[in-house]
């Protein structure tokens, strides 16, 4: 797996615990139509959009949702 993918998983685990990796995998497979190992830097902004929308469906802390999205977005730079 790429370093980029591992970093995204680490960030999402801070918010989703053991569900972090599964969550990231689902977003990549279903919304980007890619395998997690094929994730590239240019995919990150689109992935962040989906992460933000999906987290907002069940998370009751908008600040944390934003924080998570921003941390992942930074990896694109």
């Amino acid at each position: 797996m790429s370093d980029l993918y591992e970093e995204i998983v680490t960030i999402s685990e801070d918010y989703l615990g053991p569900a972090g990796q599964r969550f990231v995998d689902r977003q990549i497979v279903f919304h980007l139509n890619k395998y997690p190992q094929d994730l590239k830097k240019e995919d990150v902004p689109k992935l962040v959009e989906w992460v933000k929308v999906t987290l907002a469906l069940f998370a009751d802390d908008p600040k944390a949702v934003n924080e998570c999205s921003q941390r992942i977005l930074k990896l694109a730079n």
Binding site: D14, L16, F23, D61
Partner: protein, 318 residues
Amino acid sequence: MPVSKQKTNEHLLISDRYIWIGLLLIWLLYSYLTFQTPSGQAITKYQINLYQINLLKFSIIVPVSFIWAAILYSSLKLYRYSQAIIDSADGQGFRSIAHGVFFFLVASIISSFISLGVQFYPNYPELVKNLSILNNYVMVVFSFVSFYFIWLGSKKLITMIHAEKKAKKQGITMWVTVILLSIPYIYFVLQNPLRSQSANPTLQSTYNLPDVLIFSTIVLPYILSWLLGLLALTNMSVFGKETKGIFYKNALKKFYKGFWIIIILAITLQYLTQFSLFFSNATLAIILFIIYLILLVDIAGFIFMAIGANRLSKIETS
């Protein structure tokens, strides 16, 4: 991969629908039978008319439906959540917890129907006695099985994050708590004049069993159930503290808040059962107040569990 997952979800949704229809049919049957139970004794005892009796029956049936729905909702959500992650260690833990929650529903339904049986045949003391014994055993067996499955599931969660030592350490507090709770409980059982038999034909005995059976097959299993429930709570709270994830932790917290309420209620109910004599002489207002309070707390507990289970499920399905 996405296609097969979608099919699994559709299959689960369809089977969920059948389970809900099943519960609705059971509830309709329960409601119908409740209104068919003879009301003569209650009318004489509490000096109320048939309309008031029916109103009371209605006011019990409605919250019971909420309780059953909340238990089924939380157990299905937990089960669906566990199925979504069944290959991981936490998936197996949550499946076991879902089974435990489901047994609460089975216990509540069976017990409600047995209680109806008691009300249908008030003039057959031997039948009433046997049904009461059966009801007590249904409650004690299912209570033990429910808490056992929940404890088993919580233990798997603890093993997954390698926090067994911490959970064991905190579990000691729960052992002490159970010992402290058991002493007054056993005292109240011994003080209960109606525990084995009732000299008054209008008053029912609490257990209709000799002391040796009361203590070995009712009191001891209940105490063990409390212990399993409280140890499960400790495990869940350690798991919640040790695991990562703000949103995941929040969902877990909601779930075990509900579980706290259910355990406290289970213990309180066993204490209240020992005051049969007091309740047989109490006014209708006091009895109703206590019944509604119990139903309300029960609903609150299972609703918290349902909210937590729903959030956990959403994390895995969104």
